[in-house]
Amino acid sequence: MRVLFLMIKENTNGNRTAKWLMIGPPLLFLLIFFVVPSLIMIVTSLRYPGEFGGLAPIITPAGKVSDGYGLTLEAYQFLLSNSLYAEIFLKSFGVAAVTTLICLIMSYPLALLITRSEKRFRNLMVLLVVLPLASNFLVRIYAWMIILGPESPLSHLINTILSVLGVAPLTLLFSPFAVLVGMVYVHLPFMVLPLYTNLEKHDPVLLDAAQDLGATSWQRFWKVTWPLSLPGVFAGSALVFIPVLGMFAIPEMLGGTGDILIGNLIKDQFLGTRDWPFGSALSIILTLAVLSIAGLTAWFTRQSGGMKYAE
């Protein structure tokens, strides 16, 4: 009995060492390089900006405690004082919403077709959706700079048609339209995947039952497939909406001078004007937006999941 007890004890001791050998290194690394930097960002948003960018020094070169010492809500007040920033936030949400909607409209039929295809084709069809992600992000945007550029065959075609109709020629590139195309192109696979994963799990018996009860194909879709697919729709929407909200490279490369989103604003505060507190405040607001979207998605998913059992 004692021997057994000792064995168990030794066992748990050994396990505890093994446990912390496993948990320790990744936890420590991410505490230092993810959690602490996030906290630093919060503190930075509450500090005074420096005269030449960055932060105000706590100790002046003369050795005195500077006026910039201490915390302030200045950056947030500045953010609220100018309606321009609210507009940019609103516009970013608008772009994210429209991108998500277009992705959903394009992805749903595709995901549905994949689930209805023969089993041996399904993996290949999914792989073909994901594969473009393997190409560099910049390359994918660059491709649209070529396609929408003024010398491209597409631009020529559209402008020839327009000139026949007597309308002034259009520039496709460097416009809100180009930004939207780029956003949809880069994020589309993220919508298809969760949709397919959800649709694949549906029991076909449900559709047969609905048909036996006299439901038309349209009714079968809206009363059976669509409500059951809502968790997939929400998951895909979050995966598209959140990264679009923080995107700065696509507006910068495909958009015109007026197509500024939150991401561009943040980028400029760190690599342009160097107003760190303001840039951090913008980042904090973006973080809060992302967290609330993630929370809402989780809530909606639970709601739609609960409905399934209630009915």
Binding site: L30, L113, P132, N136, I146, G149, Y185, I242, P243, I266
Partner: protein, 261 residues
């Protein structure tokens, strides 16, 4: 029903075309004998020649390879531990900390690391800061791949080994590690491609010194667009494609081997 699928098929074909035509165009114009990405003039390898004579581009490629190798080795080691720990121990905090960097918009990771490196570590931005930044978000991907492989496994084999007197270390390197090896290698390859392709986080943590591949491509696109960009894009595409194919082959290939055993 047939009519419905027919309509779906048309939409699906259009979506696939939308996904692939842009990439085909980039590749095709890399062989075009014209400075403009407009008309097809004739076949040439001139742009690849220019590329291989571009000293700065070669340095950038070397730097990016060093960064991707270092970051993927670090991330694989840490991510494997995290994946094992998340699967083995019911912890609340670890999964949140490991997976958050994957779900966070890249710009936020970039900004917070930039502030951290400059304010707290007083580090001059460069290769080291980029390697750390890339490791931060790659850990999560490796952990996900390793954990999903562990999920399909029967935990009783580990208990059997322990009952038969294997030490925790023996149990790990004789049983656990060989079993998860394909996932570990797949995770390493994924990390490598994520690192070599990353633009946003690199952009924030790069500093001013060494040229890095994605930044170099970005500057080229922003300033003078020539088919040289198409050439480097095509080569990068081939590299990542190969990596991903190997990764998927590895994971599913050994899965089949396991069934036969």
């Amino acid at each position: 029903m047939r009519n419905r699928n027919f309509r779906l098929r048309i939409v699906a074909t259009l979506v696939y075309a939308f996904l692939y035509i842009p990439l085909v165009i980039v590749v095709a114009y890399s062989f075009n004998n014209s400075r403009l990405n407009a008309e097809w003039v004739g076949f040439t390898l001139f742009w690849y020649e220019t590329l291989f004579n571009n000293k700065e581009m070669l340095v950038a490629a070397r730097n990016s390879l060093i960064i991707a190798l270092s970051a993927s080795i670090l991330a694989t080691a840490l991510g494997t531990m995290a994946g094992l720990a998340i699967h083995r121990y019911k912890l609340k905090v670890l999964p949140i900390i490991v997976l958050s960097p994957v779900a966070t918009p890249e710009i936020l990771l970039g900004v917070s690391l930039l502030l951290f490196f400059l304010q707290v570590l007083n580090l001059t931005l460069g290769m080291i800061s980029i390697i750390i930044a890339h490791t931060t978000f790659c850990i999560g991907f490796v952990a996900i791949i390793v954990r999903s492989r562990l999920q399909g496994m029967d935990w009783s084999i580990f208990e059997a080994a322990r009952d038969l007197g294997a030490s925790p270390w023996q149990c790990f390197h004789l049983i656990t590690l060989p079993l998860i090896m394909p996932a570990v290698v797949a995770g390493a390859l994924m990390s490598f491609t994520l690192s070599i392709d990353d633009f946003v986080i690199t952009f924030f943590t790069k500093g001013v010194g060494e040229p890095i591949l994605p930044i170099q491509i970005y500057t080229m696109i922003k300033t003078a667009v020539t088919p040289e960009v198409n050439a480097i894009s095509t080569l990068l595409m081939l590299l990542t494609l190969a990596m991903i194919i190997i990764a998927t082959k590895l994971d599913s290939g050994v899965l089949r081997g396991e069934v036969s055993r």
